[in-house]
């Protein structure tokens, strides 16, 4: 990392480097792009994975935090910061040309924080309508409902994107059209059976072939990050379950760990065991659902029901443990809320061989079916470079040959004590993503197998003060959720509420890659690829 510091100083001489929770570099707005480029193109340790991009209201100034990680070693991280004092018309430089994943994130920052990015090719608001008054995540936001009244009028969708480009003559504001006049556009969504939620893809077609996709999101945006700023930490836990509801337990685990590490709470060993087992059960549950939905998207309804049948057993185990099935409210800050029930081990141990048997059945029933192969092999190919550039993690990223499992790179809970394989395939097509999920179920079973008999006795929750105040600072915790890397960012000013809280959503990266990998595929395959990417909409529309 010393070499990296040298590199940073040689690129931007007046950069301020601090060692906080992570190595933090603050630079002037106009130097950020060149610094990010230098870090990305660094040959020995390329920082080519943009983990998050967070718009910050720092009080007087507005700014953006970037977390860059190396795709070869995810534990190498650098935080970049930049600020602007102009609150009326804040402008920063875009890095969307370096990291494609920045494209949607910058649009999100514009919608919620009001910062516009120079050179971003499409500066429409993400999540919000273009005519929304005010920027919700700013501290001085006026939430008066009269400013943004509920409208029952249907609005025309305008496919015109404003942008600010830097030219030798200075900055010019211009607009570009997303589609041409003679494009045949169909709206896939917001209400469509295969978008897996309220997602809207404006798709231009040439016959059956997809030419261009324009993603509209925000139909179920609930402003969870804004809500969190007025909630105490134990209250925020409940909101994490409402992000990616299929990996609810893992999301919650992420937030718990973030707070625990920040306020140095030691989690008892027994709780760690329970958490890890529950996380893996949750992962199997989610992958089963993903498998089922993918087969359903390809038209095999029976396979869908088979997936649901096995998932039911896990949900029963969850229900017996803590009453919840989908959203299980198990993790709390300092440990877990409920101890495992008497027959927990017996039930889980009965489930493991049963699930293995069913995996063989899935394989026989669907994985080698000639039609299924025709619909998945070489369809929706995403290269490793694209996966890194778009920040696509999880089974989809690993299907493109990118080793991006947080459990391996930055082990948390008990993942450094158990033996498991990171499933990697290099084909990058729908089939690789499909097989990855099935193989990850097997690996999760293997992890559970190693832990289930060794759960130590002891407390399930550490002694935690009734009101948790996180010490001042910025904290980020990464966990491996079912769809990729989930992250929790907390900026605390020593209060019982977070000053700023942000979730890194794996699904948003998955969706941002859809226009790339679906181009020139058939419309049927667009649906199939969507199934193989397996995004969950509430995770995008936080």
């Amino acid at each position: 990392m010393e070499k990296i510091k040298e590199l940073i100083l040689s690129t931007v001489s007046d950069a301020v480097i601090e060692q906080k929770q992570k190595l933090t570099v603050t630079v002037e707005p106009n130097k950020l792009h060149s610094l990010a480029q230098a870090l990305r193109d660094n040959a020995t340790l390329p920082f080519d994975f943009l983990v998050y991009l967070i718009g910050m209201d720092r009080g007087e100034e507005l700014g953006v935090n970037y977390l860059l990680a190396s795709s070869t070693d995810l534990s190498k991280e650098i935080v970049l910061k930049t600020n602007t004092a102009d609150r009326e018309n804040p402008l920063l430089y875009s890095i969307a040309d370096l990291f494609e994943t920045a494209q949607f994130n910058e649009r999100e920052v514009y919608a919620l924080m009001g910062i516009r990015f120079i050179n971003n090719p499409d500066m429409r608001k993400f999540f919000l309508n273009g005519d929304w008054v005010g920027y919700p995540l700013r501290k001085d936001y006026d939430a008066n409902p009269e400013l943004n009244p509920l409208s029952v009028e249907s609005k025309e969708i305008i496919d015109i994107a404003p942008r600010i480009m830097e030219t030798p003559e200075g900055l010019i504001e211009e607009t570009v059209r997303i589609f041409n006049d003679d494009d045949y556009i169909i709206n896939i969504g917001p209400q469509h059976p295969s978008t897996h939620g309220v997602m809207h893809f404006r798709t231009s077609l040439d016959g059956e072939i997809v030419k261009k996709i324009d993603v509209h999101s925000g139909y179920i945006h609930r402003g969870i990050e804004k809500m969190s700023e007025s909630m105490m930490y134990p209250q925020i836990l409940h909101l994490t379950d409402r992000l990616d509801y299929l990996s609810a337990n893992i999301n919650r685990h992420g937030l718990c760990m973030c707070v625990e590490k920040a306020s140095q709470i030691e989690v008892p060993e027994r709780a760690q065991y329970i958490r890890t087992i529950m996380d893996e059960l949750n992962r199997i549950d989610s992958h089963l659902l993903a498998w089922a939905c993918q087969t359903n998207d390809l038209g095999a309804i029976t396979a869908f029901i088979y997936g649901m049948r096995e998932r039911e057993i896990i949900l029963d185990i969850f229900e017996k443990t803590c009453g919840g099935r989908l959203i299980i409210n198990q993790n709390v800050i300092g440990g877990v809320m409920f101890d495992i029930y008497a027959d927990f081990q017996k039930d889980v141990k009965a489930f493991i061989p049963y699930m293995r048997e069913k995996l063989v059945e899935y394989d026989r029933f669907f994985s080698h079916n000639v039609i299924a192969l025709g619909r998945m092999v070489t369809i929706g190919v995403m290269t490793k470079e694209a996966a890194i550039n778009y920040g696509v993690t999880g089974p989809a990223g690993r299907g493109s040959g990118w080793s991006c499992d947080i459990r391996k790179h930055i082990p948390y809970a008990l993942y450094d004590k158990v033996d498991f394989k990171e499933v990697i395939r290099t084909e990058g097509d729908s089939y690789a993503r499909y097989l990855n999920r099935l193989d990850e179920i097997e690996q999760s079973l293997h992890i559970i197998e190693q832990l289930i008999d060794n759960i130590p006795a002891g407390d399930i929750v550490a002694k935690v003060k009734p009101i948790i105040r996180v010490p001042e600072g910025e904290y980020y915790q990464r966990v491996e959720a079912c769809r990729g890397e989930f992250g929790v960012f907390i900026e605390s000013r020593g209060d019982k509420f977070p000053y700023r809280l942000k979730f890194r959503s794996p699904s948003m990266a998955l969706v941002s890659a859809m226009p790339l990998i679906c181009q020139n595929e058939k419309i049927s395959d667009f649906i199939g690829i969507g199934g193989s990417m397996d995004y969950v909409i509430p995770d995008i529309d936080r």
Binding site: I186, P193, L298, Y306, I371, I527
Partner: protein, 369 residues
């Protein structure tokens, strides 16, 4: 009477009685009306039974219960659904081509009704016995596609349009294969009339008579017939995960009900034509020289044989439908134009050679058949 359970006994009795009391023109008129009513009733009842059967069988495949609330084992579920669909409002859609939009479901239902009328359900249970029965069935069953195309076009909806265009391509392609497969058997049977064809299969079904060639034709017919009914894995015109409901997205109430009925009946029609042409139709299983056995088999009425054989084929079709994922449009057309059609053309030639050089089973082993 040798066959006491046949419905044809009843119809013959009715005919004689009527002729005894009124002039023959009136008799024919009354009988035409009766036949029409009977066919319409059978059409609706068979559809209801099929819907129930499909739901139960699918439930069995999918480890579920299926309908089990209305009536014992949910037997009345279809009836309840029918009443519901009759009472439902027909939603008026803005900016549709009203005339075509309303006309489209009738094309669908009329085409399948016309085909339905020409099917021999049992001995004497055959509304019209054309001497070109096979040709007639192939011709009228392809009228249905007009309904689909019109529905997609007049709905003024892009999803419907894509669905209709897909089904146009699909129907035209698979019609060819289905027709050629039937023609292969016409070559073997030497007739296009269903009754003669069935009579010719008394001791040896066409499926076995033309051995290799017949078997190939049978498989080809099942595949292309299945594709013609727009059911999975060939359900791309509807493809609910892609096109929500394809060409009938905008239809509601009874208009949708027509499409729904026609879909199930088409499945039945395809299976019954396959039964008639390949599996001996309503003819009981008969073995040359086993008089006692033949007697027992003949005691079972012919319509039971017909519906039994058809049911087996329908079960096969359901099995396929609920096991396979959906094909993509280009894969579907590839399958037809690059594989099925060439195989079919070669198969007809092979069949001609088999028939001309006396290689059919009946020719080879005359003592057995």
């Amino acid at each position: 009477m040798q066959e006491p359970l046949e419905i044809s006994n009843l119809t013959t009795w009715l005919d004689t009685t009527l002729r005894g009391i009124m002039p023959s023109m009136w008799v024919i008129l009354i009988e035409c009306v009766l036949v029409g009513v009977a066919l319409l009733a059978a059409y609706a009842v068979i559809a209801l039974i099929l819907i129930y059967a499909e739901r139960k069988i699918t439930a069995f495949f999918q480890a579920r219960y299926g309908p089990n609330r209305v009536g014992k084992y949910g037997i009345l579920q279809s009836v309840a659904d029918m009443i519901k669909i009759l009472l439902k409002e027909i939603v008026k859609i803005n900016r549709v081509d009203r005339f075509l939009f309303f006309a489209a479901p009738f094309f669908m239902i009329v085409a399948s009704m016309l085909t339905f009328g020409a099917i021999p359900f049992g001995k004497g249970l055959h509304a019209v016995d054309f001497n070109i029965g096979v040709l007639y069935v192939t011709a009228v069953s392809s009228l249905g596609i007009i309904g689909v195309l019109l529905a997609g076009w007049s709905s003024n909806n892009k999803y419907s349009m894509i669905g209709a265009m897909r089904s146009g391509a699909q129907f035209v392609s698979y019609e060819l294969s289905a027709g050629f497969a039937l023609m292969t058997i016409v070559v073997l049977a030497g007739t296009m009339q269903f009754s003669t064809m069935i009579e010719g299969q008394r001791y040896c079904w066409n499926l076995f008579n033309g051995h290799i060639s017949s078997m190939i034709a049978f498989v080809l017919y099942l595949i292309s017939g299945h594709a013609e009914t727009n059911r999975g894995p060939f359900d791309i015109p509807e493809a609910e995960s892609e096109l929500t409901a394809g060409y009938h997205t905008e239809y509601s109430g009874l208009q949708f009900g027509f499409y729904y009925l026609a879909e199930y009946l088409n499945m039945f029609i395809i299976a019954s034509i396959a039964t008639t042409v390949f599996l001996g139709g309503y003819m009981p299983i008969q073995v040359h020289g086993w008089e006692g056995f033949n007697q027992v088999m003949t005691f079972i009425p012919t319509y039971v044989w017909f519906f039994g054989k058809t049911a087996v084929l329908i079960f096969l079709s359901l099995w396929v439908r609920w096991s396979f994922p959906r094909l993509r449009i280009d894969q579907l057309l590839n399958l037809e134009w690059k594989y099925l059609l060439p195989i079919n053309l070669v198969n007809i030639v092979v069949m001609v050679i088999i028939v001309l050089s006396g290689l059919t089973l009946t020719d080879l082993f005359p003592s057995l058949f």
